[in-house]
Amino acid sequence: MSFISYSFLLFAAILLVIYYSIPARGQWLLLLGASYCFYAQSGIENLVFILLTTASTYIAARLIYRAQAACDRKTAKRRSRIWLWLCLGIHFGLLALCKVRFTFQNVLLPMGISFYMFQSMGYVLDVYRGSIHPERNPFKLALFVSYFPQLVQGPISKYQELAPQLLGQRCYNGKQVSFGLQRMLWGYFKKLVIADRIAVAVLALKGPEHTGLAFLVLSCFYAIQIYGDFTGGIDIAIGLSEALGITLPENFVRPFFSKNIAEYWRRWHITLGRWMKEYVFYSVSVSAPMRRLSKSARKKWPKFGKRLPVYAATFATWFCTGIWHGITPNFLLWGMLNGLVIVISEELTPLYQKFHSRFPWKSKPWYGALEMLRMFLLMNLIRIVDLFPNVGECFRRLGTVFTPASVPFLELGLGVVDYGILICGCAVMLCVSILQEKKGSVRQLLWQRAGLRYAVVLGLLLAVLLMGSYGIGYDAGNFIYNQF
């Protein structure tokens, strides 16, 4: 059951009505039932997967917790470490196996496996690190793993943040439900009106005959598509969850306003970045072998030795992020590229400082805009690698970027009307982002002015209803991040 289907809207509406009419004690059970209905709808064999993952996460966490409470520290540490590595090995082994089968035998991945697997492994690691006590009631843990709004494409939540809310009790709060529904509508606008419309042109531009400037246009179109698609889907998930009184962590904070790559990866797919930082970056950088390596390296080249753990951990993290997206060479390259740019920009910071001290433009607004544009184009070129499984093809096209070539805009399956809608849509998204950057939540601004709010909501509804690319004559645009 995809977010963009009538059955999902019906499912959400019915759930909201029941949710606020039953005694608060039973709300979490209702959510559990709803999550499993939602998941079973996508295929019974997927249900087996999530059940087994939940069961093994529950068992592993209990075993680690019990092992840690054992008699002396030494054996406790050793035994719990064994259980941890066994659990991680099996789960990530299984995830890798599914990805291999997906790549080589196009066996479809169980829906949302990459997301709920990472979320449950985060829970097990938190138990191992002692920051939380394992959940005794398996059903409550099952709800944490399979809470349906975040199931399909995240955000990846931490147990400490989500579990208390899931198991808490909520009464009807008009403002909260209205905010949630407004955010869902905003998500549908970005997904149906913009992302799915421009997707037609992206598909056409992928054709081998488009090289030169068209490749650059492709990278920009793809940026708009993936932004509308991913942030739209996340808005629908967070909005629905907000209407249910449960706040999920933000996954995007206006990423195209970032001025450097470190900032970009603090604004794009935040929860995956946070997961990787806490469980891969830190673990690698402070692990025993890394310490020994950095000590011996420091003897030979003192300055470099100090930076070694950071760079090694960075590449390890980006290698994992690449694999998370897929095990085809282009995703690995994508991961390494990101890691490389981060390390280079880290290394060049002293150079930047010298540059800024000589040219005091740093505070000038136009310089900020220039940096944003530079970052937007750079990230487009890195992101474009996602689109071409054959990396050679991608670089060949990249090479031709500066040769002049006409871009056949009107032959890409989009008419003048479509381009008009896209331009207005992007303008609306830009204004909303600027408003959010300056004044915080737009919905809060509208909350006092009822008349304006009704007009905006009706306008958005009509835009989605009339200009959305859905239904007969449009091929159902599945979410890009559904395939991970």
């Binding site: 295929g43 064999e45 087996v48 997967f49 087994l52 069961a55 093994s56 068992i59 075993l63 019990r66 066994l86 099996i90 299984l94 196996l97 599914c98 089968r101 035998q105 196009n106 066996v107 479809l108 169980p110």
Partner: protein, 161 residues
């Protein structure tokens, strides 16, 4: 407690491996094609290129389809009929009907071939029990009809999606 957890984990691994093999998406086969004077015509594909390559037909007719856009056209090239259907302003190959034994299918079957030859070429599985072999490949269908043991009709059709 230890034994139960080990058993649970073992069971779990087996189940997952089974789960992983759950659904195989069949890869797309390419369909039948008919070649005449080195011009390959595939049912379901756009007809423009083939029509140009085949040159002027011996005769041609067209009919409006029931209530809709454009014409269903049929071209006669002496040894076969080529019919097209319109979709969004372009003509697509609907059907190729072999008219005489001067032309044959890629597998060498022509008007007059024996039932044995047809069975060897397309396999007994696609025999409909009475008088015809119907085999489907990709989005195309090849129908070979026999009367008292000899092939009388050979027909390539596009399975219109």
């Amino acid at each position: 407690m230890k034994k139960i957890s080990l058993a649970a984990l073992a069971l779990w691994i087996i189940a997952c491996l089974w789960g992983c093999g759950a659904s195989d998406a069949p890869s797309k086969q390419d369909g039948f094609a008919f070649t005449y004077n080195a011009v390959q015509i595939t049912p379901g594909a756009q007809a423009e290129a083939a029509l140009e390559a085949l040159g002027k037909p011996k005769s041609y007719t067209e009919e409006p389809s029931c209530a809709f856009d454009g014409m269903d056209k049929t071209y006669y090239y002496g040894s076969f009929y080529l019919s097209t259907y319109p979709l969004e302003g372009k003509d697509y190959v609907l059907r190729i009907w072999l008219a005489d034994d001067s032309v044959a299918t890629a597998e060498g079957i022509r008007i007059g071939s024996g039932q044995g030859e047809v069975e060897k070429a397309y396999g007994a599985a696609c025999f409909n029990g009475s008088n015809a072999f119907v085999s489907t490949k990709g989005d195309t269908r090849l129908t070979v009809i026999l009367e008292d043991g000899a092939v009388t009709t050979i027909l390539y059709e596009a399975i219109v999606q």
